[in-house]
Amino acid sequence: MTSTALTLRSGRADTKPHGGVSWWLSDVWEMTLRNIRHTLRSPELVSFSLLQPVMFILLFTYVFGGAINIGGGRYAQFLLPGIFVQMALYGSAAGTTIGIATEMREGLMDRFRSMPMSRSAVLVGRTVSEIFRNAVTVAVTVLIGLLVGFRFLNGFLPALGGMLLLLLFGYAVSWFGAFIGLSVPNAEAAQAAGAVWIFPFTLISSAFVPTGTMPGWLQAYAAHSPMTAAVNALRALFSGGPAGSYVLQTVAWSIGLIVVFAPLSVRKYAASSR
């Protein structure tokens, strides 16, 4: 009986590859699961993060939409890709920044740091779980978009590609958010730091209005903003038109953000409280 149990146990241990990547993946999975549970168990946070895009959709469609000249076509069709990107940014950047800044002050991080687990897994798990949260909020926003007249006019695969691109961009931005969250002293500062850049960053772009009416210097910035690239990519993928260059730009920005801010964040996390 006992020996059977022991054989089984050691058998299982042997089939499990040791060290390296598999341990890291296991750690990341545990951390992702933890954060997904947080999301599922605080539905008020998810609904709160939906409040803003829903308000924007209604305001822009029914209040400002009529006054904004987008040169033909339905405004909802123009607007929704901008809302998607803005929402992914809000969720990823503000959510991650505040979440991490809050957790860094709690004893649990000390426990994790005193354990033989991977340092990066704590942050990777957090950012990966943001993909899940983003997917949920984007799905709800799509439904509301459909109600106000938005349609995927370009077929299934481009639509799917657009959604994946959106999640990738959101994931990349959450690393930026993680870095800010690790750099600020507390959650209140994180709240402020999160809000300060997001509004101008998302509004000075092609998300809500065509950039053509902005003053020249602002146009130059807006045209090259990663926000504009992502919004234009989604517009093309959802409504038709040349998407290639915008998609490439968005992917490049995303990879750039990850390559820069993931290692910086992990180093900051490992060094914190030293």
Binding site: R12, A13, R34, H38, S42, S114, M115, P116, R274
Partner: protein, 332 residues
Amino acid sequence: MPAAIEVAGLCKSFGSVMALDHLELTVPEGTVHGLLGPNGAGKTTTVRLLSTLISPDDGTAEVFGIDVRSDPRRVRSIIGLTGQYAAVDQLLTGRENLHMIGRLFRLSKSDSRARASELLERFDLGQAADRQTKTYSGGMRRRLDLAASLMARPRLIFLDEPTTGLDPRSRMAVWQMVRELVAEGTTVLLTTQYLEEADQLADSLSVIDQGRVIAGGTPDELKAQVGQDWVGITLIDGAALEETTRLLRERLGTEPVADPETLVVHAPLADGGTLPDLLHLLKGSGVAIANVAVRRPTLDDVFLAVTGRSAEHRTDQRNSGKDTNGKDTERS
């Protein structure tokens, strides 16, 4: 075989504050060592250094012969940490918390589940196991925290003020758990502000103050420096003062101090007598007693004995820079 903890010349500063100032510490495997000191003495800093959360400015710290600075990962795999503040995930249930920790310690899924159930039962959390820990009381959270640090059966466990802020019942429960751990061969480094706790649990003690060890030894050795418990017996009739003093002297073999003003007779409770014995003796001799009080030596008494100044007033005295010499005069 290397000691569980071997610390030499350990220094750590935070800005201008020298939290540890050449700290020395040796803890043999299988024992409980108490770090006793007032707030700000450097207890938490010592625990954080040994559990690889911060690195020392100078000196060496080894855990089972492994240097915490050069091989922190190996150290982490054999220690358990219960910090000063409960470190559990409030949105997860008790069981999920333990299972997660088990998996992060590389237990297999089934081992981790079994161990979590075992610890939840043992720590009297079976009923609450599947509730989110934000609904737990402070004592339950502490116990879960302790359970979490035991998931991987560490050889060495750090307990940083494990009973501060707990009600007496939870405190007893934690003490009981520490005793069980030691019976299983685990080494424990325990910090506390309470002499009584150290006395109850520790095999040996280091009294620290301003980042230095100022006294050490077994609880008995330390108490011998401090003095024993004192009993104060308040009489109803001053005429019995002499008789009481004589009876106590004969029974205890120490010299009582009688105060004719307050009608109190103080005596150190030496090995000769327990309180009920004394009361029985006095009653049998017809001495009428108004009140009885026992005073146990406190951390403050230890400080007074070792440094000649009070633990509670240490900051004041540090600031004024005065060297008090009240060792004899201040004790009553």
